[in-house]
Amino acid sequence: MEDCLAKKMEITVSEAEKRTGKNAMNIQETYTAYLIETRAVESQSEGQCAPVDSLWRRYSEFELLRNYLSVTYPHIVVPPLPEKRADFVWHKLSADNMDPDFVERRRIGLENFLLRVASHPVLCQDKIFYSFLTQEGGWKDMVNETGFQLKADSRLKALNATFRVKNPDKRFTELKHYSDELQSVISHLLRVRARVADRLYGVYKVHGNYGRVFSEWSAIEKEMGDGLQSAGHHMDVYAASIDDILEEEEHYADLLKEYLFYAEALRAVCRKHELMQYDLEMAAQDLTSKKQQCEELATGTVRTFSLKGVTSKLFGQETAEQREAKIKILEEQIQEGEEQLKSKNLEGRDFVKSAWADIERFKEQKNHDLKEALISYAVLQISMCKKGIQVWTNAKECFSKM
């Protein structure tokens, strides 16, 4: 990991700003721009602070970067971007992309994305990525000039397309199955978590009503008045405490969301393998049938039913010259085909090897990150319980003095 960019350069997405400008269709629109700041790490060890470079990027540029990376490195599990639109909202969160809380969480998510790419042994060396961080003008043209869109396999995006692959690598089949399960279970978890958060919010906020009633009641009580009044104050504190608690929980939800989206990146790698394997098998099949055709022409026997065989019976056999010509063409094609098959095979094996290496790296990262996320969740719960104990201890004291 010593080579990776993250060690050489400090990267932050430090600010977000609302902008207006004309989009591709020349229509005025409002969007958010994010400030990316970078600073070389080396000179810091000498006690000097290196200058900070910065530039602004909007979400669509991040998307462009990621698309480029996915196409250019299909064997890599490319880190996902934070969600485009607010999903899994509970009632308090706005689903509006311009909402400041959403923008803030997206800023953090974008920074996280850049850090993940910068820490990846392969991706961090990419020039386009480096330019994204350092070159404000002309970056878009640079990306488009790579012609990556041409390399993109539209079949990868086609979710419904099924490919009858006869011999996929079993590990990829299992991995695809796992990524489906992961996606399903995390989205279920996030949905229920949002509902639980909503209900918890309700419980806390209703207690806030006590404050006002206790205060009004205390006005007519001589002895109970003080106890009621101060207990009411603590109920207000209790009701207010839920806001911070749930905001912190949103960060936990974001951690899980990242892996929800990672599941898609995993699936993309599996699909790529499937497609390569499919192309390989189709090419092999094609080669076999050409060889067969060749043999049939050479020996004059028709082993399998073919339309040609029927038409030649109906309209008469070809001349010997015609047959020779055909055989020659076929032999050329067969040679080409065999070369292609060889290289496809090699490609396939290389892909499996390098993809699997990255998948192992990803698995370790995932296990580490998710375990830490679960621990952070426990820490959140503990903090919430301690706050609750504090408030109710105070309230109990007030009540006992009534």
């Binding site: 990846h120 978890l189 209703v206 679960l374």
Partner: protein, 454 residues
């Protein structure tokens, strides 16, 4: 003893002010039962109270009695265990009457279906022929008792009865939940009467506790005739026209203002408490689904399976803890607040009745002012009415102070209990999560050394 009840005719006039009801033991034992001419020494001590100081002592003792009696999950149900519990307390005067309500039973006849409850009484009082009684009573009987007590003591604060029928609500008339809630409230009702310094010696109360079913029915049929009751009503209506408000002592106007505000606030509190219960229940329902998802996830994982299962188990434990918290609310806070909602209505009624009694006097006095020649004829009647008003006022004042003290005590203990419930909940959850965290961080330190961090 006030309002013997078993004697047909108009109710006896209240005893002279300054002495509590029951200043002397009954001269005749109840019909049909051999009675002791004199009760044991204990009963006499309790009964003979002339000093004001003794009055106050009894009231404060009643407060502590109320504490013992106020319903909490830990309170034992059977009278004998109550006696045992009480013996541990350092009280100079022991309670001598213990009542429980339990064992609801359904009775189906051709005409109706109704529930009866078993009422068990244990007592050492002399005027009771036996020391233990067991009878069955239905809701109607409780209603009868309440109305008799109100009749006999118009300006005493008679404890509330659970409502006849709950309109709002998903609770069916004869669901187990409904019956249990009602049983607890009926138990409370009788105990509050038993604790009351005056009401506890009421004759109808005694008959309620001791008479067999047929005895009670025949007794109910006796009592002040319909006509005399109507006469009361007519007089009450007449005096209510005047209202008795203009000569109302300052103290009772203050009480009126207090009750109005109290009633408002207690009703709102009741609503808030119900709302909290509802929110907690919804939270509990969602939590039930939350834990198992983590277990499901753990099935797809290897390295983090244990952590996921750990989180699942924590969430499930917190879920159970929240269920206990809810139970605490429904067993304590909700019934008490409901009782005081009913109490606020009762208080308004008591103040009105006092005003009516005053109104009777005022209207007579006004009538007299116009007939100077017949002063002598009326003066005796006016004297009696003046006594009646003074008596009613004193009874109400004393009972009011007692009620306020009890209310303060009930509120203090109920809300303290709510706080304790919540504390218990958070402490349980804290322990669960802390032990999970401990199990995880032990492993993590080992991992950090060997892992290839990006």
């Amino acid at each position: 003893m006030e309002a013997e009840g078993r004697v047909p005719g108009p109710p006896l006039p209240p005893p002279s002010p300054g002495s509590r009801g029951g200043a002397e033991p009954p001269a005749e034992p109840p019909a049909g039962a051999p009675g002791a001419a004199q009760g044991p020494l204990l009963a006499a001590e309790v009964l003979s109270l002339d000093d004001e100081e003794d009055d106050l002592e009894v009231f404060s003792k009643d407060t502590s009695l109320a504490e013992v009696n106020s319903f909490s999950p830990s309170m034992p149900i059977s009278p004998s265990s109550m006696i045992n519990q009480y013996k541990f307390e350092d009280e100079p005067e022991l309670r001598d009457l213990f009542v429980t309500v339990d064992d609801p039973e359904s009775h189906i006849t051709a005409i109706e279906t109704f529930i009866t409850y078993r009422v068990v009484t244990k007592t050492s009082r002399g005027e009771f022929d036996s020391s233990e009684y067991e009878v069955r009573r239905r809701y109607q009987d409780f209603l009868w008792l309440k109305s008799k007590l109100e009749e006999a003591h118009p300006t005493l604060i008679i404890p509330p009865l659970p409502e006849k029928f709950i309109m709002k609500g998903m609770v069916e008339r004869f669901s187990d939940e409904f019956i249990e809630t009602r049983r607890k409230a009926l138990h409370k009702f009788l105990n509050r009467i038993a604790d009351h310094p005056t009401l506890t010696f009421n004759q109808d109360f005694k008959i309620f506790l001791t008479a067999q079913a047929w005895e009670l029915s025949s007794h109910k049929k006796q009592g002040p005739g319909l006509l005399s009751r109507m006469g009361q009503t007519v007089r009450a209506v007449a005096s209510s026209v005047r209202g008795g408000v203009k000569n109302r002592p300052e103290m009772f106007t203050e009480m009126n203002d207090y009750v109005e505000t109290f009633s408002q606030k207690i009703n709102i509190l009741d609503k808030i408490a119900h709302r909290i219960y509802k929110e907690e229940r919804e939270y509990f329902n969602e939590m039930k689904e939350y834990g198992p998802i983590h277990t499901l996830w753990s099935a797809s994982e290897e390295d983090i399976a244990d952590s996921l299962k750990g989180v699942a188990s924590c969430i499930d434990k917190c879920c159970k803890a929240t269920e206990k918290r809810m139970a605490g609310l429904s067993e304590n806070l909700l019934p008490i607040l409901h009782e005081y909602v009913l109490y606020s209505e009762i208080l308004m009624g008591v103040l009105k009745r006092r005003d009516q009694i005053q109104g009777e006097l005022d209207s007579k006095v006004d009538a007299l002012a116009n007939k100077k020649t017949e002063k002598d004829l009326f003066s005796e009647e006016i004297g009696k009415l003046e006594d009646k008003v003074e008596c009613a006022n004193n009874a109400l004042k004393a009972d009011w102070d007692r009620w306020k003290q009890n209310m303060q005590c009930d509120m203090r203990s109920t809300f303290t209990n709510v706080a304790e419930n919540n504390l218990r909940y958070y402490e349980e959850c804290l322990a669960t999560w802390e032990s999970f965290l401990a199990s995880q961080t032990v492993g993590l330190h080992v991992e950090e050394d060997s892992e290839d961090r990006p």
